[in-house]
């Protein structure tokens, strides 16, 4: 899906559908299977397996304590799959375009800039984690509980240092809030059908499945 506006709206609709009911989540999962690169969106994100594993652990805990862990697992897993899809499809500068298109050159620009910088920060963070792993490997150090604290300290420190440098850079370039951007969006042939198809899971989530069959009769 190339049009960032349609993609965002689609992901919001599908996330709401998934959150509301298991039927909505299952339908959203089918949408994910049909309209996205599927499993490749997970492999592109270094944190995907961690978050999916964490969700599975929480679901197991809910199930053991007598709650509906299966429902939680299905709904949250689909929401995560949609999030990984949205993350893997984004292009640099897209959030800035989107925010300016939505909220204008003052609030929109500031929100978009913050979103872009946060996403950039996430990429830097995954690079930093990779770097620390290599450093441990080169020094023949075994990553373990003891190494988590200094490693986390280094990550936080480098993020703060980067934030400070970026703030200085923005100030030097004369940034005082707001800015000029002319948003541009491209749309592929399949974007609109994919967006329209995303409404079905929402209908399924809002209306009980039985009612839909009654309506069809």
């Amino acid at each position: 899906m190339q049009d960032a506006r349609l993609r965002l709206l689609t992901v919001i609709i599908l996330s709401v559908a998934s959150f509301m009911s298991v039927a909505g989540a299952v339908a959203a999962f089918f949408w994910w299977m049909i309209f996205t690169p599927g499993i490749r969106t997970i492999t592109r994100s270094p944190f995907a397996l961690f978050f999916l594993g964490f969700t599975a652990s929480v679901s197991a805990l809910i199930w053991f304590t007598g709650g509906d862990g299966i429902s939680y697992l299905v709904r949250m897993a689909v929401i995560l799959l949609l999030a990984f899809y949205a993350y893997s499809e984004r292009a640099p500068g897209e959030f800035l375009d989107l925010a300016v298109w939505l909220f204008g050159r003052k609030l929109g620009f500031d929100t978009g800039l913050a979103a872009e910088m946060s996403l950039q920060g996430m990429e830097v963070l995954s690079d930093e984690i990779r770097r620390i792993r290599v450093a441990f490997q080169l020094k023949s150090l075994k990553p373990g509980f003891r190494s988590i604290i200094p490693a986390a300290g280094l990550l936080i420190h480098s993020q703060f240092a980067r934030a400070e440098e970026q703030a200085d850079l923005l100030a030097v370039r004369g940034y005082r809030g707001g800015g000029m951007v002319c948003p541009e969006f491209t749309r592929a042939k399949g974007d609109f059908p994919a967006f329209l198809s995303a409404i079905l899971p929402l209908i399924l989530a809002i209306m009980p499945v039985g009612d839909i069959f009654i309506l069809l009769q």
Partner: protein, 232 residues
Amino acid sequence: MELEFMDVLVERDRFLIRGSGRFTPGTHLVSGRVGSGKTTLAMIAAGLGKPDRGSVRRQGIGSAMLSMQFPEQHLTGSTLESEIASWHLDPDPVLALAGLSGREKDDPFSLSRGELKRLHLACIFSHPFDLLILDEPFSALDCREKMATADRIGSIRAGITIIFTHENQHLPRVDHLWEIREGALVSLGGVPEALVGWKNKPAVLAELHKRGVYPKNLSTADILEAACRTHD
């Protein structure tokens, strides 16, 4: 002891680097322009990267180390003391070697990149390695430190030392010269014979070449000796 690149090829979009050759004990200089693929080859030589085609064969190499271009890429400690300890070294002599005595409790990020590079190189040079790969060891250093680093590299007598660099002013004495030309790693042979065929040689060497003078090696002392020889 030997490291061999066997028809190694790495391809990324428009970038392509290929190479074959044997690195035997001694000091090897791999020269290449910025973006020519030096870091890619260094990572592959260190076993931290995989080529798309071909392989790297190691024989008789026990310990190996890659010194990455940016010293902060090696950091795992939150103080200079713990950083040096992470290299399994005693902090005091290393701090003295790096010119940072008395700063053992300092945060590594409070150092300038040049100071951090000095500390990192001091850790690297305090260990003997069978294979030592130095990716841009002179970056972030001033002239004096570049010369000191070149001397330290030149004084390594054991194992295989490979220097990947675009530096062309301050270099150590080397045994073998390599050059990256149009996406290919080319072995130019032993020094000084190899200096004749060095395509992107340093300006001072090119000038001496014009006069028909060749230094015995690449250290500052060798270049000065050759330059003075022209006045005889």
